[in-house]
Symmetry: C2
Subunit: 204 residues, 2 copies
DNA sequence: CAGAGCATACCAACTGGTCGGTATTTATGT
DNA sequence: ACATAAATACCGACCAGTTGGTATGCTCTG
């Protein structure tokens, strides 16, 4: 729709939202604060977004796009064995925990807790982001099931969602403890679970 | 300290906080709203709590006490086999997902996401609640390790925390999707993981 | 000059918090 | 047992600052 020459105020506001909302939550983040961080005025804000709620929806979409592009370009996709590919994804998520300071958490996981009853539009945008990302894992998991000749009593979809649940939960424990390394322990358990599920040493 | 004959305003405010904060988040819950729900006035609020922040800390503590008492009284503790006892806990958590309308989520998991950078006192109270609850599982898991004669490369503590991460993450996915049954799928995966870890069919 | 992009000034509603006062217990002295 | 003093619990009007949102106008570019 818009051309967005240079760095538009809209993009700067969305980036500011990603940063501040992840730290403080959506409700605690004021429009003024967003504008100050982005270096624009309130007039610019309400020129690009009809309301603070609309900014929340746009931020969730923006999050889906940026993270989606990042995971799509990740090298783990080139691993031949589908089981190793799934484990490659989990290893990537583990590596990301050591990333930039306090920039490791998930925007939509944070927002949806505040919005799931009071703000359907934001909740739906968060839902699309989380479940859409899970779908990118589903094919690899299904291929892994076929490759190992399994006939599990669980679905590829449910396991893909389980990985997201573990990651979201790991973020919460990391935030509560103030120590990101505890999250690594959770991800290690997840990797071990995947390993056990697809291990040929299983019988009965 | 206080005797709290009848139903004191303090208790009513804490109960109101449990209800509203879990639905809307801490920042989006106003003091006025809390008072209205509790049926008391602002004077009562600031008589019992120095600030809204102090209410948040007290609510987290209140949450720890009520849920702690509930889990302590649960029948799964009487299961003889420690592995089955751990699975009994997970089954209980699964059953709770079908509980009262929108009353299945965790107060401290919601609050800590908003408070972990901006409010150390609340964050610490949430940390104590989550990690304290995890500790009640640790002994059973350790006993299970001994009972099965395992020498795992993971600790009872890390597995206890992993269960909490799965549950917290399951809440987020349930909120995002508006469907609590997806959370059941995550818990089932957790139960399967526990089963595989302590399964005697494992080798190498 | 038309319209997108943005800035400034402004507003009503709401925010957390204060303050003087009153009702209700509880503690104490006799 | 009873009066009284002293806390404690609670009320509700009020406040200054902040909130999301608006109205208007300037300034570019095509």
């Amino acid at each position: 729709m818009t051309n967005t020459k240079r760095v538009s105020a809209r993009t700067k506001l969305l980036d500011a939202a990603l940063s501040i909302v992840r730290r403080k939550g959506f409700a605690a983040t004021s429009v003024d604060e967003l504008c100050k961080e982005a270096g624009v005025t309130k007039g610019a804000f309400f020129h690009h977004f009809d309301s603070k709620e609309a900014l929340g929806v746009a931020a969730a979409d923006h999050w889906s796009e940026t993270t989606g592009a990042m995971f799509a370009a990740a090298p783990y996709h080139q691993i031949a064995d589908p089981v190793e590919r799934v484990l490659g994804y989990i290893q990537l998520r583990r590596d990301l925990l050591d990333g930039e300071e306090a920039e490791y958490t998930c925007l939509v996981g944070t927002m949806v807790q505040e919005a799931y009853t009071s703000n359907p539009a934001i909740r739906d945008a968060c839902k699309t982001s989380i479940f859409g990302h899970a779908e990118t894992l589903e094919d690899d998991i299904q291929a892994a099931i076929v490759a190992r000749g399994l006939t599990p009593d669980w679905t590829a979809k449910s396991l893909a969602l389980h990985t997201q649940a573990v990651l979201q939960g790991a973020f919460i424990l990391a935030k509560a403890s103030g120590d990101r390394s505890v999250a690594e322990g959770m991800v290690d358990h997840l990797a071990r679970y995947i390993h056990l599920l697809f291990s040929p040493a299983k019988k009965v």
